[in-house]
């Protein structure tokens, strides 16, 4: 899985913010990870320490906010929560569900040390 590459992108994003906003240490990172984003929360946790080593994020805490998968059924029109992309509508049991939420993969915010 590509969680390490995702986290490398996260560190690049934080480094760019650091040069704009003038902070040098990150104490905490909050990520939003959608259930349907394709990223595995446990793998992100596992890779976080390795990816952040020798960067301004090293030693920071990681908080992951999981966002449920949601969609709307093309048959019955219900707005439903789904666990996976290919699930049939849990309301009517047969409709295709078009995904409307839960694909997020975002840095929400970070806590930085005031210098």
């Amino acid at each position: 899985m590509h969680e390490l590459a995702i986290l490398e992108g996260m560190i690049q994003g934080i480094q760019e913010a650091a040069s704009l906003q003038g902070f040098t240490r990150v104490a905490g990172v909050r990520l939003e990870v959608g259930r349907l984003s394709g990223a595995e929360v446990e793998a992100l946790r596992f890779a976080f320490d390795a990816a952040s080593q020798d960067t301004l994020v090293e030693g920071a805490s990681l908080e992951i906010l999981e966002i449920p998968g949601t969609g709307s059924c093309q048959d019955c029109g219900a707005e439903v929560e789904i666990q996976a992309r290919f699930e049939l509508c849990p309301a009517c049991g047969q409709g295709f569900v078009v995904v409307t939420g839960g694909t997020e993969l975002r840095i929400k915010d970070i806590d930085v040390e005031e210098t």
């Binding site: 590509h2 994003g13 449920p68 290919f86």
Partner: protein, 249 residues
């Protein structure tokens, strides 16, 4: 499970109350910086640049994805042989190691550049941007990007292509679209390859297509055999129909 506090997550309640995940209070000496930044923002921005370059040059970029062994390279060889006299074709080859695939493509008569991803499990927009610089395809070329054989990771990385094409060989099992839904959801076309082997296999084509459409109702499906040439004309028509119209000078 909710990884903020270890609760059941996804609609769980405490004493009938939905509990909020308000951020922990900020410790003294710290400040909170709101980023709201997509984790793939860097890749997506580079993909957008690739897409603009393709549009400006009239290139049709196709991102070919599949598991290892589906016959991507053989399909590309067969495609190049049939297409190269009508349309310029160039190939970007992605593999963890070796330049064997790029060598095969060059032997088939198309310029090719090999990207070795090393530890990486997918191509990204940055690598493809550099490969385009090296290849410098002629205006109106078809740029075939053969991604690393992997049905998981390449789904998440936009390369700036016009379409993802997923190749599934009939020796793999008809439930692949359900097992790897992200890839089949991201693709516009599924090429069902090695159909010449169907008489020897228990592979239900209709079931496989139904699985793919359950994940992606709009996906197109073509049955091909790179080995015998069956169905390749349909595939070539699909490609040629998607080439951008030549720009007026």
């Amino acid at each position: 499970m909710c990884t903020t506090c270890g609760c059941g997550g996804g609609g769980s309640t405490l004493d009938g109350q939905a509990h909020s995940h308000a951020p922990a209070p900020l410790r003294p000496g710290r400040r909170r910086v709101s980023l709201e930044q997509n984790l793939l923002a860097k890749n997506d921005a580079l993909a957008a640049v690739n897409r603009i370059r393709c549009a400006a040059q009239g290139w049709l970029a196709l991102n070919l994805v599949s598991s290892p062994g589906s016959g991507k390279t053989t399909l590309l060889e067969a495609t190049i042989l049939r297409l190269k006299d009508r349309v310029p074709v160039v190939v970007i080859e992605g593999d963890q190691q070796t330049s064997q695939d790029a060598d095969r493509i060059k032997a088939a008569g198309a310029p090719a550049v090999q990207i070795n991803t090393g530890k990486g499990c997918h191509l990204d927009a940055h690598m493809v941007g550099h490969a385009l610089e090296v290849l410098a395809p002629p205006p109106g070329a078809v740029v075939m990007i053969e991604n690393v054989g992997n049905l998981v990771c390449p789904a998440a990385f936009d390369l700036g292509e016009a379409h993802k094409v997923v190749i599934l060989s009939v020796t793999e099992g008809e439930d692949k679209p359900l097992k790897y839904p992200d890839m089949f959801a991201a693709a516009d076309l599924m090429l069902l390859n090695k159909v010449d082997l169907l008489p020897y296999l228990r592979f239900d084509v209709e079931r496989c297509v139904a699985h793919a459409r359950r994940v992606n109702p709009g996906i197109e499906v073509l049955r091909v055999s790179a080995q015998t040439g069956e169905g390749l004309d349909d595939w070539l028509r699909w490609v040629e129909a998607r080439r951008p119209a030549p720009q007026q000078a």
